[in-house]
């Protein structure tokens, strides 16, 4: 047990003096702040632990086991990374390469962006090469999947505009959710509102859906306020 074990230990309390501890709880309560932070910072399963800098950038990700020794190790990596960032900002290209690899490993850099930056950087060392290749492949896979999702959503938006919509309720839910997820990222208020309206009709007799739709209406208002 992480919370009843490591995080409750005296050893951890002593270690914690070296860092600022921030606890984020995903609650599914619409009114709670920063509920999107877990996904924004690359989380895809609980528990999820990372180090961030004061700007909120992920600088090191933690893996199991979550022991104080592992926290120390990741803290060392985070400190090294932050030193490298400073050097890279000062024009050190070797440091720039290490920063790029770390950013790829932390999911903070897209494959295309990384490839462009690599053109101006030195060749990786024997230690860096497998890290770079693996992290670049991870980023490429993610990018392909994102591109596929975007292509799918664009196709669905075309279908919606042409009033060609699914008749099966379960398929329709996925259809409209795919549109809403993509439209929200693109700040496409027209498609978002159209898909939301259809989902609201489908769940009109479900009182439990009110909170979900209220939150989506608020998100729509925010998008409209921000402009496209």
């Amino acid at each position: 047990m992480l919370e009843g074990g490591t995080l409750s230990s005296d050893e951890f309390a002593k270690f914690a003096e070296k860092v600022v501890l921030f606890l984020h709880v995903t609650t599914h309560v619409d009114a709670d702040p920063d509920q999107e932070l877990f996904e924004e910072k690359g989380g895809d399963g609980f528990p999820y632990m990372v180090y961030m800098d004061a700007g909120g950038n992920v600088v090191s990700k933690m893996d199991r086991p979550y022991t104080v020794e592992a926290f120390e190790g990741a803290l060392g990596k985070a400190a090294t990374y932050l030193e490298m960032v400073k050097k890279a900002e000062g024009g050190d290209k070797a440091a720039g390469l290490e920063v790029l690899i770390s950013q790829l490993e932390n999911g903070a850099l897209k494959a295309d962006e990384a490839k462009k930056k690599l053109a101006g950087l030195p060749k990786p060392s024997a230690e860096q090469e497998p890290r770079l290749n693996g992290a670049l492949a991870n980023a490429e896979v993610k990018q392909v999947m994102e591109d596929q999702e975007a292509a799918t959503a664009k196709k669905f938006i075309e279908m919606l505009k042409a009033k060609r919509t699914p008749s099966d309720k379960e398929v329709a839910q996925g259809f409209y959710m795919a549109i809403m997820n993509y439209a929200e990222k693109q700040k496409d208020t027209v498609s978002f509102e159209a898909a939301l309206g259809e989902l609201e009709k489908m769940f009109a007799d479900n009182p439990n859906a009110k909170g979900f739709f209220d939150a989506k209406r608020k998100a729509l208002d925010k998008m409209k306020e921000g402009g496209k």
Partner: protein, 72 residues
């Protein structure tokens, strides 16, 4: 996107709506989570902005623990 890919999206929606079915229980679960002893013991900050401000002021990195209260 095939049915196999669409259905999880539909299931996710139903799960979200299902979670709302328990209404105030979500707040109760959150409140119970925030009272857990480990939070007090090491002094976890619960506000994202405050955590970044403290990190900037102290020149320390932030260790972030993401957890959830809506299910065990």
């Amino acid at each position: 996107m095939t049915n196999r890919k669409l259905l999880p999206l539909a299931a996710a929606l139903v799960a979200v709506l299902g979670a709302r079915a328990i209404g105030g229980e979500l707040e109760d679960k959150r409140d119970a989570k925030l009272k857990e002893a480990f939070i007090q013991k090491a002094g976890w900050v619960l506000d994202y902005t405050k955590a970044r401000e403290e990190a900037k002021k102290a020149g320390k990195p932030i260790l972030v623990y993401f957890t959830r209260s809506y299910s065990p």
